[in-house]
């Protein structure tokens, strides 16, 4: 807990889904969603609401509650229903300041479209793959976005906004069984369940192993094939600098580094 970061009047909604363990396939709390809840709990423990659209009986939802939540709100709908219309209708009424989601769900279609569709439906800016909410001042949030290769980018976004939380965010706290079973699961029937009819036409199967791409020798003649089979790995046009002053050679290296844009 970092009390200096807490914001009393801030209202955050964290959207959670039912995760799936990649090895055993058992239902669990989704890792990215748990990070979203963790981020919301450190930022605004008072104004936090954790929201799920789906089956209120799912056991793995309790794992989120076990992180220390008093209650968890579930918009009740069937497993084949589309979550986005229900969520957007509910969030339109609630108008939270920040809506946090994971990047991609661990079960179902896992297309990662939820934050974007919500952003489009609610007319809010969408920020992707955030690693940290650094501060909130003057109605704007300073965020750190996770980039590939461990880099971070600073962004500034006006409230309210939708953000998806990357795996680079702070790891979620442990889930305890006692608080999990004591928490309130407030199930709410919002009276709209849009069936996902497009999805009904799809067929789903366990993932097949993808074929590896083979290195195909595209030689037309026997002579070319022979050459390809016996060719030594020769340096193809690498530049070699020698017998020059060290400063000149270092300058060449430095220019290449600058050109590649790795220096900052």
């Amino acid at each position: 807990m970092q009390p200096d970061k807490q914001n009393a009047s801030l209202r955050i909604t964290a959207l959670v889904s039912v995760g799936k363990h990649p090895g055993s396939g058992r239902a669990r709390r989704a890792e990215q969603d748990a990070r979203a809840v963790e981020m919301a709990m450190t930022l605004a423990p008072e104004g936090l609401e954790v929201l799920h659209a789906g089956d209120p009986q799912a056991d793995s939802l309790r794992a989120y509650a076990g992180m220390g939540l008093k209650r968890l709100r579930v918009l009740q709908q069937g497993t084949n229903a589309d979550a986005v219309p229900a969520l957007s209708q509910y969030l339109k009424q609630q108008k939270p300041d920040i809506i946090l989601t994971g990047v991609r769900a661990e079960s179902g279609e896992s297309s990662g479209m939820t934050p974007y569709l919500l952003g489009e439906a609610l007319g809010l800016p969408v920020v992707t793959r955030i690693a940290e909410i650094v501060s909130i001042d003057h109605g704007e949030a300073n965020l750190l976005q996770a980039l590939p290769r461990g880099q971070r980018r600073a962004l500034r976004v006006p409230l309210p906004f939708v953000a998806s939380v990357d795996m680079a965010a702070a790891a979620p706290r442990q889930s305890a069984f006692g608080p999990a079973s004591r928490a309130d699961l407030e199930s709410q029937d919002i009276g709209m369940a849009v069936m996902d009819e497009v999805k009904a036409a799809w067929s789903e199967a366990p993932a097949r192993k993808r074929p590896k791409r083979l290195k195909v020798v595209k030689a037309k003649t026997a002579a070319d094939r022979f050459k390809a089979a016996t060719a030594k790995s020769s340096g193809d046009g690498g530049k070699v600098l020698r017998d020059k002053p060290a400063s000149e050679m270092a300058q060449a290296v430095f220019d290449l580094l600058l050109e590649e844009g790795v220096l900052r």
């Binding site: 479209m113 974007y116 569709l117 290769r149 022979f226 790995s233 340096g235 060290a246 050679m249 220096l263």
Partner: protein
């Protein structure tokens, strides 16, 4: 070197002058292969081969002797650049739009896979389709033609530099309005493709197939449930493609005709990019690091090496020898027994390049070698090699990096 010596053959020259000589035709330097008006290679079977010493025609199928010309001079540098046939699309019936990631301003393998997929779709649909590639901001790619780009929409301007997803999506929505591409193909990558594709899908109201890995005109197989299931579905208009979804284009050249947007892009950016944050390079996992300065047996001054890595802002790596000698920790080891790195730029200081080490850096784009031995494997692999004492070069590099940083600070002030 002996091949470069020019040897005159007075007899061949005499035959070439004498039009009445029976061998005159064969001595005429007529290229065996010419390119016809349609771009096809035309081969003159009469010009192939040569007449041997006892008057029998000989065809050298190994091409070992190289093309024999008048005077028996052998063409220097036999490895000639093969000119691929040009694939032309005039007045395309439809477009397939591709938005590559352009990491570091260049097409990467994933981008090329996606362009290859676009051509595969055109092949399946038939008709006169063109691949429209949309590139934002400055780029450094020179081989768009060989990657398979028929039309290039290059959107330049300050507003597209840096992180500007909202404006980019607005531009893509404008492309949708003007060109109405039959398919939108984007790489499903962490770099930018996934985000841009999802934003575009939400904007134009399409339901995308994500992590699609087998795409046909009718049916698409994509990964679902976090990569643990395969979803077979009808091919949607917008596809986010996994890596190696299709073969890259390698047998044709394409036109890369520039096209432009007629209308203006109306977009409002509410997200403000405040630039990248300085990250401690040694806190980044070695496998993910973008820029690695790696040390081997040739490094003697370790303090200087660490200083150089800090000045350049590079993640430190090491060869096995350096680790075994106790100069670097084990988790810094690069190679088959250590970490397989994916750096974009890899600087090898005093590493000669054991095969295990070369395997470990197989995925690196640009390798720079600083070594004293010209003949070592690392120099053969490297795009730029510096032959000299590593400590002198490193000292110069530190000086340059510090001067550069000073300059940046002064410019910013």
């Amino acid at each position: 070197m002996s091949e470069d010596i020019i040897r005159r053959d007075p007899r061949a020259e005499w035959i070439a002058r004498n039009r009445l000589h029976p061998l005159h035709q064969t001595m005429q330097a007529s290229p065996a292969e010419t390119r016809g008006p349609s771009g096809l290679i035309r081969r003159n079977p009469h010009a192939v081969g040569f007449i041997g010493p006892n008057g029998i025609k000989r065809i050298d199928r190994m091409n070992a002797s190289g093309p024999a010309t008048v005077g028996g001079r052998r063409a220097a540098g036999a490895a000639k650049e093969v000119e691929l046939p040009l694939h032309r699309v005039e007045n395309p019936d439809y477009y397939i739009a591709v938005v590559p990631d352009m990491v570091g301003g260049r097409l990467n393998g994933h981008d090329k896979d996606v362009i290859g997929q676009a051509h595969k779709l055109i092949g399946e649909i038939g008709g006169n389709g063109a691949v429209l590639t949309i590139v934002f901001g400055e780029h450094r790619e020179e081989a768009f033609d060989k990657a398979g780009v028929d039309r290039l929409l290059h959107l330049q301007g300050d507003e597209y530099e840096g992180y500007s997803p909202e404006l980019r999506v607005a531009a893509l929505a404008q492309v949708e309005k003007e060109y109405a591409p039959r398919y939108w193909l984007l790489p499903d990558s962490v770099a930018a493709g996934f985000e841009l594709g999802c934003r575009l899908a939400a904007r134009i109201g399409e339901r995308p197939a994500t992590q699609a890995w087998q795409v046909g005109a009718e049916q698409t197989i994509c990964r679902g449930a976090g990569g643990t299931s395969d979803i077979t579905r009808q091919t949607p208009r917008l596809l986010l493609l996994a890596e190696e979804c299709a073969d890259q284009i390698d047998e044709t050249r394409h036109e890369v005709l520039p096209v432009e947007l007629v209308g203006t892009v109306a977009g409002h950016a509410s997200i403000r990019d405040c630039g990248q944050v300085a990250v401690d390079p040694n806190a980044i996992p070695l496998a993910e690091a973008e820029f690695i300065l790696s040390a081997g047996n040739g490094v003697s001054d370790w303090a200087q090496f660490h200083q150089a890595a800090e000045a350049l802002g590079a993640t430190e790596g090491a060869s096995r020898v350096a680790v075994d000698d106790g100069n670097m920790p084990r988790f810094r080891q690069v190679g088959a027994t250590g970490t397989w790195v994916t750096a974009r730029v890899y600087v090898a200081v005093g590493i000669s390049g054991a095969i295990q080490h070369m395997q470990g850096i197989g995925q690196c784009d640009k390798v720079i070698a600083i070594n004293t031995d010209v003949g070592c494997d690392m120099v053969k692999r490297a795009a730029l090699s510096v032959i000299g004492d590593s400590s002198e070069v490193l000292a110069e590099l530190i000086r340059l990096a510090k001067a550069h940083r000073q300059e940046v600070v002064e410019n910013a002030a």
